[in-house]
């Protein structure tokens, strides 16, 4: 019955899909997998503890938090908002693309902006709506499309550039997981191989956003 070993995978999938407590789900999956594989409870605890210690590097991003806390309480987000709101007289697509570029560059430096809350809703969405309604008032449907595209642009920029920062939890998770699975990988080489997708995503999204403007010209 070696297929029983897959119970951990099943627990993770169902636990996350049903939105159960994530930490408890992962711990349960680890325990269950070890126990059905014939380890004693003590053995499982030992491997769990040793595995956690060996993977401490994944949490190294905690070390960056004090610095981020200091610049944040001194108005880093306000400074970013001030910078972006200086952009004027552009089409909706261009507003999105400038934001996309800013998002990718700041992400690559490990500056985690809470994009949707702090930039998309209060800044990018109204700027894009203002730009798109220059020729003709917007229909309700168009307003919804602009909101959707603004949110999407934040996600594209965020997802595909966050792994350019060496101390991001994603990069550290990948390096550490590969090591756990028996294949040593340097975080810097993960950053290196994340560069192509960051560039490709930027180009494709920028083209997609440029075409977005056409519907407001008619």
């Amino acid at each position: 019955m070696e297929y029983l070993k897959l119970i951990g995978i099943v627990i993770i999938i169902l636990g996350f899909a049903f939105k159960l407590d994530t930490i408890a789900v992962v711990v349960a999956a680890a325990l269950a997998t070890g126990l059905v594989s014939g380890m004693s409870f003590n053995d499982v605890l030992t491997i769990l503890g040793k595995g956690f210690m060996d993977n401490r590097m994944v949490s190294l991003f905690f070390l960056t938090l004090p610095m981020i806390g200091v610049v944040e309480s001194h108005g880093m987000k306000q400074a970013a908002v001030n910078g972006i709101s200086k952009i004027k007289k552009l089409s909706a697509g261009k507003v999105f693309n400038i934001y996309l570029l800013i998002r990718e560059v700041t992400d690559a430096m490990g500056i985690a902006l809470s994009g949707q809350v702090q930039f998309i809703r209060p800044l990018i969405n109204p700027m894009a709506q203002a730009a798109a309604s220059v020729k003709k008032p917007l229909t309700d449907k168009q307003v919804d499309l602009i909101k959707g595209r603004a949110a999407a642009t934040d996600n594209f920029g965020n997802f595909f550039s966050q792994n350019l920062f060496i101390a991001s939890s994603g990069v550290l998770l990948m390096a550490s997981t590969m090591k756990s699975l028996g294949h040593d990988v340097a975080p810097a080489s993960i950053v290196l191989y994340s560069i192509p997708m960051a560039i490709i995503t930027f180009i494709i999204t920028a083209y997609y956003n440029t075409r977005f403007d056409k519907q407001f010209d008619k």
């Binding site: 951990g8 930490i23 769990l48 806390g69 880093m76 810097a188 191989y193 995503t201």
Partner: protein, 305 residues
């Protein structure tokens, strides 16, 4: 002093920061789960600060305690004092772009140390974090007490999400020790014979997308799918592990772009902007996500082999 000893110093520092968070969580009278939350940060802080001197099974036990605290909803971020908007506005005007300077230093210095010294990436991140913090304190003229509060505020606001990546990586250790990879590869190889590079890459990338869509979390999908498919079907066939990891993870992000399960990214904006179409964000994302998936399959195939 060798690299591991230097790294140990940084882990102790992390532990200390977590203990700051613990102290302030215990003191947070408004948090209904302040005891549990304080314990959570205390346990983590101790594991990082003195875990080296504890037997592994004790640490395993502590992790189960964390699991139980979380299961019974005893770990809550609570009400964290927000940044003083007025002061922030004022100093944003005064400092402007200089506020980004410490982050630039952190990103560049950690890469430089990792590439041009033999200290390695982790020590690089540690040294760069400390240097960046000192620069931030000098630029903003922040004293130690304010830095303490900025630190504990940041750590506490991360909450349990902060420990999830490390737990998922630990799960990878258990999977390896239990031979999960061998079982899945045996099961799948009945249908898809291993050895065909392109087939392996397609299988891994598509599985990352599908499982991320179901789970709503690419990190969790990465831990299980890389153990089950990525390593046996791509890396074991000679694929470069760094390429497989980097592109595999972003394949997962394509799944995130297409699933309502990723509420933070796809439902939060709908609520924030009062959109009429609940799937309005996903509808804007899925064409690009599919194009990016195809590109990534090609890219992984050509870069990894």
């Amino acid at each position: 002093m060798n690299v591991n000893n230097i790294l140990e110093i940084f882990y102790v520092l992390m532990g200390v920061i977590m203990i700051f968070a613990s102290v302030e969580s215990f003191r947070d009278k408004d948090n209904s789960a302040r005891i549990g939350t304080g314990l959570f940060w205390l346990i983590l802080g101790l594991i990082f600060a003195i875990g080296k001197y504890l037997p592994s099974f004790v640490i395993g036990l502590l992790i189960i305690v964390i699991g139980l605290l979380s299961l019974f909803k005893q770990i809550k971020v609570g009400k964290i004092k927000e940044v003083n908007k007025e002061l922030a506005e004022k100093s944003a005007k005064r400092l402007g772009a200089w506020l980004f300077f410490p982050s630039v230093i952190l990103a560049i210095l950690s890469i430089l140390i990792s590439e041009f010294t033999n200290l390695g990436g982790q020590v690089g991140i540690g040294i760069a974090s400390v240097v960046a913090l000192i620069i931030a304190m000098i630029i903003s003229k922040t004293d130690a007490k304010t830095t303490y509060h900025d630190s504990e505020r940041m750590v506490r606001s991360v909450g349990t999400a902060g420990v999830l990546p490390q737990l998922l990586a630990t799960l990878g250790v258990i999977f390896t020790a239990s031979g999960v990879g061998e079982v899945t590869s045996k099961a799948i190889s009945g249908v898809f014979p291993p050895g065909n590079h392109l087939l392996g890459v397609v299988l891994y990338c598509v599985a990352m997308v599908i499982f991320t869509m179901v789970m709503g979390n690419a990190f969790a999908a990465f831990a299980v799918i890389t153990a089950g498919i990525g390593v046996p079907f791509v890396v074991a066939q000679g694929g470069n592990p760094a390429v497989v990891a980097a592109i595999g993870m972003t394949c997962g992000y394509c799944g995130t772009l297409m699933t309502p399960m990723a509420a933070n990214f796809n439902s939060l904006p709908v609520a924030l902007m009062e959109m009429k179409d609940n799937l309005g964000v996903i509808k804007q994302q899925y064409p690009i996500a599919l194009i990016l998936l195809v590109i990534q399959i090609a890219l992984m195939y050509f870069l990894a082999f």
